[in-house]
Amino acid sequence: MKRPVAVVGVGQTRHASRRAELSIADLVREAVDRALLDAGLEHRDIDAVVVGKAPDQLEGVMQPEQFLAGALGAHLKPLIRVHTAGSVGASTAIAAMTHVASGLFERVLTVAFEKQSEGNAMWALSPKMPFTAPLVAGAGGFFAPYCRAYIARTGAPLHIGPMIAANARANAARNEYAHLREPMTVEDVTNSPVLWDPIRYLETCPSSDGACALVLASEAQARRGPRRPAWVKSAASYAEAMWVPGRDQVNPLAGRVCAKHVFERAGIRDPWREIQTAEIYVPFSWFEAMWLENLGFCDVGQGWHIVDRGEQRFGAHLPINPSGGVLCTNPIGASGMLRLGEAALQVMGRAGDHQVDGVKNALGHAYGGGAQYFAMWVVSTEH
């Protein structure tokens, strides 16, 4: 990074399975208006707009940023549209950060969204890939074998997934924007039907309508801002090919490399001790244990022990997804940006009822594709 970049505004919609009262443009504006208000800026202050969302087939609009240019306040500004599968919300925010880091832009608006009620996610996420048998089972059908492999490899007991799901819901109950907020017990989860073994209905992310917007700014702008900024200490997006012989889908190398990159550049040697909270992309319960290992918060095979001991709960050593995370709110394209935005809110000290005490450094993380795309940033109270 050529120069420091800060998050100076965070905005998100109320997330729900169907925001039928809003057009796609209205939905995006709900998040954008809140981010600008938060930053104390107006559209005319914005130098460039960076948009992200998952496959256009989800809404049936090709490159919707074109028709949204007006609603985004992008008329006569530079705009790019990012798409890196599930990680897109995070890689989009990182692309916006790069715009500011380049020195060419002072204030960049970035927004990510999905209005899943406009289409059918199970259809849109069941691609027919060349030379590959179609699963027609959505993302859950694709990722369930990864979870089974994790269980087989580590000997994790079967209650771990339900524990993660119940904890996420307990967290979401403290987040006024979350989609699913009704508390549920581990027993509730265990009694829900299996969709894709070992993933049960209540261990699965919902389909949500929602958007998230951030304002990224230079140091000069951040110092002028009305609020304490979150400084981006480091950020990176990595991807790996799918059909590499020996590729480890359970503990993907791209995730390990990306985590090493962002922790090293942030000066963090021991993330378990130096990160106070993390918002990580957990669309199916078991991924929380898997990513704790992949991110280097613990040794391989130890992720489920952290969950079993409750050390990742709200108020414990390293609260994971205090917002409730993807398991409770999943407007797909926005889900990654929500992770990065929630991490920023935690270091700004403005996460409301789900604020973690004493956060200095926070990690935001997302993944996508066949666990191939990873995008992360470390944000901090300090420059």
Binding site: S23, A54, Q57, Q66, G70
Partner: protein, 373 residues
């Protein structure tokens, strides 16, 4: 303009544009171009520290079409990567921004997509506002015809003039082995072709085509070692404007005008007319005229040379057309344009667009010498 990092195009490879490659999927078309581009600049994939691609899921006819490109772009071990759902020229623009941020020194930029797998006229309808404009059934030919009507009404441009511009592009294309339409045609012949959508004739619009494109960017210090004649980026800028067709003066492109002004200012150039050639992503003769107006150049003059490659009229692979313009500018400045070379070319402008009726525009100003010293 403060000093920026000198960045150059150092390699370019393109699959010849064809109506349909029957035997290869998009990634199979792309892989040889990646290898050719790397061979062109004499490095292995490990020497490239960033990769970025441009494509569209709707063109691929499935979600996540771009994920397959990871297999052939060289994504093992894992690499820093991004994908834009846009013409790949915008991916190159983002790579340039990343180099300005100091985050990478070299970048592989790819464009891909099997246009022939779908029906682009129906697919591109879905780019329009889904509530008010897409349901009318407008397709890109219809919107281009609305734009042409508006332009002809404002300027008095005749059908004959459009035929002459198309004929010039056809004549140029006949000298370029990578284009789809390699036969020249006279203005008389083209003016007798039937309406595609009035006032645009079938002779004034490109056929559907597909390709695969790879381009390598490198910053000063590495560019010179990778290419004997790098094409240095002197200035670049991109802008979008409102889509709403009824709210725009379709006969003009304010986003193109602003992007051109900013790119030229960054390049320290006073006039676009001073360059030797211009490669425009103009899918119709009217778009060429609108872009010339935005650039402040006279389409009737012989200099700068307009679309010496033949331009999109002779080969228009969606999501790649813009990156091919940048690649063509490189070929001209690097002395690799073969039969369609503009003699002694030292400065060039390349343009890319996204959306209907030139909604979003990107300009590059390039030269054989470094911009900042």
């Amino acid at each position: 303009m403060s000093r920026l990092r000198n960045v150059a195009v150092v390699a370019f490879a393109q699959a010849p544009v064809v109506a349909r490659d029957e035997h290869r999927m998009a990634t199979e078309m792309l892989y040889p171009q990646v290898r050719r581009a790397l061979a062109d600049c004499g490095v292995e994939r490990s020497a490239i520290d960033y990769q970025v691609a441009g494509s569209a899921d709707y063109i691929d006819g499935r979600p996540f079409g771009f994920v397959g490109a990871l297999e052939v772009m060289g994504s093992w071990p894992p690499t820093q990567d991004l994908h834009l759902e846009m013409d790949a020229a915008f991916a190159a623009h983002y790579a340039w921004i990343r180099m300005q941020a100091g985050d990478c020194d070299t970048a592989l930029v790819c464009g891909h997509g099997k246009v022939s797998e779908g029906e682009p006229r129906r697919i591109l309808n879905l780019e329009l506002d889904p509530y008010y404009q897409a349901p009318i059934g407008l397709d890109p030919l219809a919107t281009a015809a609305l734009q042409a009507s508006a332009f002809m009404a404002r300027t008095g441009t005749t059908d004959r003039r459009l035929a002459e511009i198309a004929a010039r592009n056809r004549a140029a294309g006949a000298r370029n082995p990578d284009v789809q339409v390699r036969s020249s045609a006279s203005a008389d012949e083209l003016a007798r072709t039937p309406w595609a959508v009035e006032p645009l004739r079938t002779g004034y619009v490109p056929p559907l085509g597909e390709s695969a494109v790879a381009l390598v960017l490198a910053a000063e210090g590495k560019a010179e070692r990778m290419c004997d004649r790098p094409a240095w980026i002197h200035g670049t800028d991109q802008r979008i404007e409102l889509q709403t067709l009824g709210a725009r003066d379709l006969s003009r492109s304010p986003s193109a005008r602003l992007a051109a002004e900013r790119a030229l200012a960054m390049a320290g150039a006073t006039s676009a007319a001073d360059v030797d050639l211009v490669e425009l992503s103009a899918a119709t003769p009217v778009e060429e005229l609108i872009l010339c107006e935005a650039l402040g150049i006279d389409a009737d003059r012989s200099s700068p040379a307009l679309n010496p490659s033949g331009g999109p009229l002779v080969g228009h692979p969606l999501m790649m057309t813009g990156l091919i313009r940048l690649g063509e500018a490189f070929r001209q400045l690097a002395g690799r344009a073969g039969d369609h070379a503009v003699a002694g070319a030292r400065r060039a402008i390349a343009h890319a667009t996204n959306g209907h009726c030139l909604q979003q525009n990107l300009f590059w100003v390039l030269g054989t010498e470094r911009r900042w010293t």
